[in-house]
Amino acid sequence: MEQTYKNSTEIMQLGGQPIYMHDMAEACLRGRLNLLLVGDTGSGKTQLARDMMSYFGDKATFILGRNDMDTRELFQQLNPDFFRALKEGRLDKGMNPRELTDKIDYHLIVVDELPNCVPSVRGQLFNLFDGFIEINGKAYPIGNGYSVGVATGNLGQKFTESSNDLGRALKDRMHVILDTDYFAPQSYDTLEILAGNTNPRVNFETDGKDRSQEVIKRHQDLVKQETPLEKLNIVAYLVHGLDYCTTDSNVTSKRKLKDQWPTAIKNHAKGSDESLIFPLSTRAAKSTLRLSQALDSIVRDKTGKDGLVVPLESVLQAYKFVAAYSGVLNEAAVEAHYGGDKYKALDAIVQTTQTQIVAKDDDIRAGLEMASSGKLNDKVLNRFTGRWSFMKDILTYLTQQQEANYGN
């Protein structure tokens, strides 16, 4: 990836390796994860997005989000031929939809200032990010199997409707959200940028080469990899363990509390996750796993070594960047305990989660020994109570699966 965006600020350490903004961008491309860059005007979001475009030559497109843009203009921008064919109703005249969507063969779609777009345009953009286009209520694939979206937006900027919709849209369609102000460049980066040139415009010049296949190959390699059971269990904790909570009357589930979460929660202490964070959705859980695998591959490429990254470390770091802006945090608690700093709140949750998981390691190993024997053992299963109750079900499932294998 070209690096016209300069930023030497570490956003995490993984396996002893510093991970920078460009590494996260690279990880999103490998993982085919939609990335939203939020930050103040002039913080470099667009420049970083432009660096990501440098891989794709003419297979990347840049769209400036405006509130007066409608879907017709969007289609016109994507490809005038495509728009003309639609306008002339060639689909109705028997044209193969594939012929039409082939005209939009972008692998990367960058939308600058996404919150400016009206809902109908945004909906089409999210579809494009996910690799299809909707025409007359039908979805048609684009991008030859690989497409990903990068969007930018200002922090204080709201979507053209309510901010609740902003949260919902992000949660639904953007997999990773990075705050470029939080991980702002170092002073010496600024010096280097300023010494380079004094043109205040985003630099869109590239060599124009199409290196899409490099990215697609890395993505395919990543997808082929088997996800270790340890990672699956950690993410299961983020989905089910974090769902555990206690109210005045009983032990229950945050999901079941619905709108009563977090007000009905008993434990509001700093450091407690019960009122601070909602569990991950299955979609976000997948994003977390995918990002974790992609980050592992980045460390592997940097060092040339396998096994440097501990699964727990990798999954929880990925979780931090999937969850921070995805709408799962209790904003009031973040404000009260962490000065409104979402990443700091996530750091606290990561720390608590790490402690919980490490403390349960021996029991999980015993549970896996039970599962591999194919025989349920109540003494082992009874070790999993409270927020770990979900593990009882997982281990029972694995044991029964093993038992069935032995039966065959």
Binding site: S8, E10, Q13, G15, G16, Q17, P18, E226, P228, L229, E230, L232, K270, G271, L308, V310, P311, L312, E313, Q351, Q354, T355, Q356, V358, A359, D361, D362, D363, I364, R365, A366, L368, E369, M370, A371, S372, N377, K379, V380, R383, T385, L398, Q401, Q402, N405
Partner: protein
């Protein structure tokens, strides 16, 4: 989809795990067991040290109400990849223990002076001292990290000291944090000024000059660590006690007889 059960999970074999957990009568507690203030352990002895030439003599010091006897501090880190609690436990089994932040500050000052003696009383080569110093603080690859004997609870600091009135036993001190920088400095504080002006708990005081050493202020429930990598060196008082990394270890220390 069939899920494969691994033979190794979280770095340890699953075989024999049932026996291990059933051997303990009660389920393990998540929280670190808090020691009472009166809890003490016997001070380890250096008389059984087989390789005193690999240790550096850190002379006894008194910093206000805090003091320690002559210490031998290992030139090399050990117990890599263990969490803070486990590291403490394993050091104790060997008759060693972890440096407090204050001792670590004094140790760094000693290394920086380039004049120190080993456990046999021999003057250590300057180049060797320089290499130990660089290994700890130099900003370069690979990432290095070491645990320190300090835990934070609310506005308190917890570490160990020697109770000379009680026969030299090691006791836990749990006291208020005093005169320290309460905000993160990223960057940073001046490394030399920290060594010069650290308070008796080893923490930088508000008068410490600005500089390139990153500093993360104490966080409730966290432990202390010193790290260096290609990006920075830092004193982190916000460390996760359960963190385990291959580059994270400890500098074993014990009192000199």
């Amino acid at each position: 989809m069939a899920i494969k059960i691994p033979a190794i999970y979280s770095g340890k074999p699953i075989k024999g795990a049932i026996e291990i957990i059933l051997a303990s009568n009660s389920p393990p507690s998540v929280k670190t067991k808090k020691k009472s203030r009166n809890t003490s352990q016997i001070v380890p002895s250096s008389s059984n040290l087989t390789n005193p030439e690999n240790y550096i003599l850190l002379e006894a010091k008194q910093h206000g109400s805090y003091s320690y006897p002559d210490m031998l501090v290992s030139m090399e880190k050990s117990h890599m990849g263990k969490n803070w609690t486990k590291t403490h436990e394993d050091l104790a089994k060997e008759g060693n223990y972890m440096l407090t932040i204050r001792q670590f500050v004094d140790f760094l000052s000693l290394l920086k002076s380039r004049r120190a003696f080993d456990g046999t009383g021999k003057l250590i080569n300057r180049g060797k001292l320089e290499s130990v110093f660089d290994e700890i603080v130099k900003v370069r690859d690979p990432w290095r990290s070491e645990w320190l004997d300090t835990r934070f609870e609310g506005s308190n600091i917890i570490y160990h000291t020697f109770n000379f009135n009680g026969g030299g036993n090691l006791v836990e001190v749990n006291e208020h944090l005093v005169n320290y920088i309460k905000t993160d400095k990223t960057p940073g504080i001046n490394f030399n000024d920290w060594l010069k002006k650290a308070n008796y708990q080893g923490l930088p005081t508000p008068k410490t000059k600005k500089g390139s050493l990153y500093y993360w202020t104490p966080v409730d429930g966290a432990v202390a660590r010193f790290d260096a990598s290609s990006g920075r060196a830092y004193l982190g008082c916000d460390g996760n006690a359960s963190g385990t990394y291959s580059s994270l270890g400890v500098r074993a220390a014990r009192p000199k007889n």
